[in-house]
Symmetry: C2
């Protein structure tokens, strides 16, 4: 051990001791509190008389897999009129609970479903049991046994509107702390409309307490739909004969010259985090895998604090050899995206509706076949709308947005391809257009006016690749292994990378990519 | 710019200039060579007479998407007797080519399929064309047009044994360099058996030239099967109602105390690469996702140079809330693995056979239901076989291997679960066994005697979690956010992580995990 290490270890130990002391104090406090509660309970028992239900409620020992209990737990979503009269067990969260005289009403929640529960003094239920139910901290998890009963009036506030549960047993499986950092009802409240002005939850509070924020119906719907995006992407490509590949994220050299790349300490040397799987996808094409896709994290050390940038996001990547024209690949990609849009529309309507309650938006529109505009056409539309820009200038974000609106007005679609970008604004490995030197065989795809995919025919000839790199002042020695990949026969190929979080965000008409990343990473956020 | 940066930039520039010079020299050399070849060709034309086939072969301009050609290219695997007499176009690699008098035989390869091609002097084919075909560098990509002809004797060396292609046009689409760093035939040669002693390719040469090594029938089969492992894993879990999640790889604190973790520079601070998605999977369970899975990279900064360790590998991860006993989860995991084994057996028999030709192994055996042994039973079997070890001692790698052999002998299975590991050898978040304090609710799963999954019931109670961390001397302040995840109601849950490369390796009976990682990363390898 070096001096610093010893010192560090000692500091750690000191801190650890301090933490232990603090925890001990907390434990003592908790013990005192428990004692006080027990005393109160005992007093209350005296006041309420003998407890006829004392085995029917409580907080049993933590589930440690003590025994295999042969008990069927029903799902809240299955509590319908068909079950009326049945005695069922279920496990759920206590969404709300309030006492009202000799009874306690609870809303029992399971993911996006909830049902009303009632604990009312009677043959099986004591006053003490009602009190117990009323005092359970919200968000605690309970096992309840009860009889399913039909209700006279639909319960508008619950997903299960026709029945309620008359509870005969209630046990707390896991207790939530009494004070929640955010209220679930506030977290799903729309910011405009009828409820305008009532409490909502700001984004940082949500993200700081993501474990609770993810429990809302909106979050549940967003991430179930996102799981669907991945599934539809793969399903479509596997049916088209694509092979799934896994590409390394730790790389020895930054593929695009070293800007915006995270550095990793790698044993006695340094490495980088891959900004895209592109080199590896291309190597797989050179290795005869013909059509490949991968889903994985992509890292960008860009200090961009916008609604659509993350430092780590999920890339849905495609690369494919083609015969004679890169449009063979463009068609496969647009077809895949259209299959995703259709699949979401057909399989995730509940989720779309749920998100729409909090964040209303127009349904996502697309055409078949997909609209493909050439770059000059796009520039012409922008110029006509009063934008001043050069023919070989890249699109700014506001201009992308504007073009999206113009396209929507003219063609009634939220999805289109912009093809033939100026060569000057694309990376060195982009294949130049064979007919007009200032353009290239490259394309972006847009949803609601925002870019979700960037792609191109790649240069598969090592000499042209070298020439282009030199032309752009790139140190060719640093990208030697990339160029060498094409020296042993390489088919013409093209591909692109899709940002998963952006697709989910834009399909649902949301406005921040942090809403569609479970645990977002940006220059200012690394936790939780 | 600082002085160092300026100096660095100058050095870069100098290097860049040097590289440019080198490239210019190479280009000049290539030009001279081309000139010489043209001269030779002209001379040869004089010798061979006028070329009647001069439009029927050659090296056309690089495919730059000049035009959309309406030409159907057939697949080599579809060249069967049914196609005899048809004129077809196809694109393939030149696997081998050799001239023999007035004809040239080629083996044309597409992935794992190949067919014999023949260029013979005749009405459409000139001597020059035969020469051209014979001089194409191996591994170049060609477009050929030809007539499918039945052959008298089966062609044993090709996958298409009943037909050959009589070539009438041949164009080189992409030229491979004349010298290959490895020969594909050497790279698929078994190391034992009949061909023992003939050339094979060592692992570093393979990995250094992965683009070529991945073209072998063996590699193609391995990675197509691996794509199947992922597909079967997801298919099974989606059918079971699991949700796919995406977890961040850049994290702010090392979850297990900071050992074996890669450090990342993150803007003005430091971060780490996730050693597992476990914390995030658990947070999703606490956020009511109930059953989740994810597939993604996992990073281990371990200086282990063994046949089964990688610094970056792909984790197939599962986490699931359960009702009363963690065996509910164990059953789901073993059922998933068994579905994978069956799916591979039923859908990937060709690939299994292909790999077996180079690396023979016994077919993978498994039982239904899966064999679950308790740790003490395993220790007893080892002791009976002469191993000296304590009851609470962890299994060494040789002992794991030995136990695998003993289990195979006794139960005839290559797959089993070892349950109830000693608490002392598991991480702090492992749930202790409720009946015997020295054991825990944790398990490993093994294929052919090697660990492929490690898992456990996790402690879902924040107090017990804190106690266990303190007991093991972990600085609880550093894992505060992990512990806090359980403060707002957490269901009992369990899970595990499977190593994708190990599953593929062990299912196929291979002996090095680098064979089943496309671009492996270990302490000594960061490229390609």
């Amino acid at each position: 051990m070096t001096k610093e290490e010893i010192q560090g270890a000692q500091e750690d130990q000191a801190q650890s001791k301090k933490a232990a002391k603090k925890l001990q104090k907390e434990a003592e406090k908790a013990a005192k509190k428990a004692e006080k509660q027990a005393k109160l309970a005992a007093e209350s028992q005296v006041a309420d008389g003998e407890d006829i239900a004392k085995d029917r409620y409580g907080t049993p020992a933590m589930i440690q897999s003590q025994e295999k209990i042969d008990r069927v737990l029903v799902h809240v979503k299955d509590l319908t009129e068909e079950k009326v009269g049945q005695v069922v067990w279920l496990r759920s969260r206590v969404h709300t609970n309030r006492a009202k005289g000799k009874q306690c009403f609870l809303v029992l929640r399971q993911q996006q479903f909830n049902v009303q529960g009632l604990v009312a003094v009677g043959d099986h239920v004591s006053k003490q049991m009602v009190k117990f139910a009323a005092n359970i901290n919200k968000e605690s998890i309970v096992d309840v046994q009860g009889i399913v009963q039909k209700v006279d009036q639909k319960i508008e506030s619950c997903s299960q509107q026709d029945v309620e549960l008359h509870i005969e047993r209630i046990y707390v499986i896991s207790t939530a702390e009494p004070r929640l950092p955010l209220q679930l009802d506030d977290a799903v409240r729309p910011e405009t409309g009828e409820e305008e002005g009532r409490a909502t939850v700001n984004q940082d509070t949500r993200l700081d307490n993501r474990v609770i924020d993810l429990r809302t119906t909106t979050s549940q719907a967003i991430f179930r739909l996102q799981s669907g995006v991945c599934q539809l992407f793969r399903e479509t490509l596997i049916n088209k004969g694509f092979t799934e590949i896994q590409t390394p994220k730790i790389i020895s050299a930054a593929s695009e010259g070293g800007a915006n790349v995270f550095t990793v300490s790698y044993f006695k040397t340094s490495a980088y985090l891959a900004q895209s799987p592109q080199l590896y996808k291309q190597m797989c094409i050179c290795a005869d895998f013909d059509k490949v896709f991968c889903i994985g994290p992509v890292f960008r050390a860009e200090d961009s604090n916008t609604h659509r940038h993350l430092t780590e996001f999920v890339g849905l990547d495609i690369e494919m050899a083609f015969n004679y024209h890169y449009h063979e690949v463009v068609t496969q990609i647009t077809d895949t995206l259209v299959k995703i849009f259709k699949g979401l529309r057909d399989r995730y309507q509940t989720e779309i509706q749920t998100v729409g309650k909090q964040f209303p938006s127009e349904p996502f529109k697309f055409l078949e076949p997909t609209l493909i505009l050439e770059y000059p056409e796009g520039v012409a539309m922008l110029k006509e709308a009063g934008v001043e820009m050069g023919d070989e200038e890249d699109l700014s974000t506001p201009n992308e947005k504007l073009l999206g609106r113009l396209v929507k007005e003219k063609y009634d679609t939220d999805f289109y391809v912009l093809d033939k970008y100026p060569l000057a604004v694309r990376p060195f490995y982009t294949m130049p257009d064979p007919h007009t030197a200032k353009y290239s065989n490259s394309y972006d795809m847009f949803m609601r006016g925002e870019e979700i995919l960037s792609g191109a025919q790649r240069i598969h000839d090592p000499q042209l690749l070298t020439d282009r790199a030199l032309h752009l002042g790139i140190d060719v020695e640093k990208i030697k292994s990339y160029i060498d990949s094409f020296r042993f026969g390489a088919p013409p190929h093209a591909g692109g990378g899709i940002g998963l979080e952006r697709v989910t965000m834009l399909y649902l008409g949301l406005h921040n990519v942090r809403q569609t990343s479970m645990f977002p990473r940006d220059p200012k956020r690394l936790t939780p």
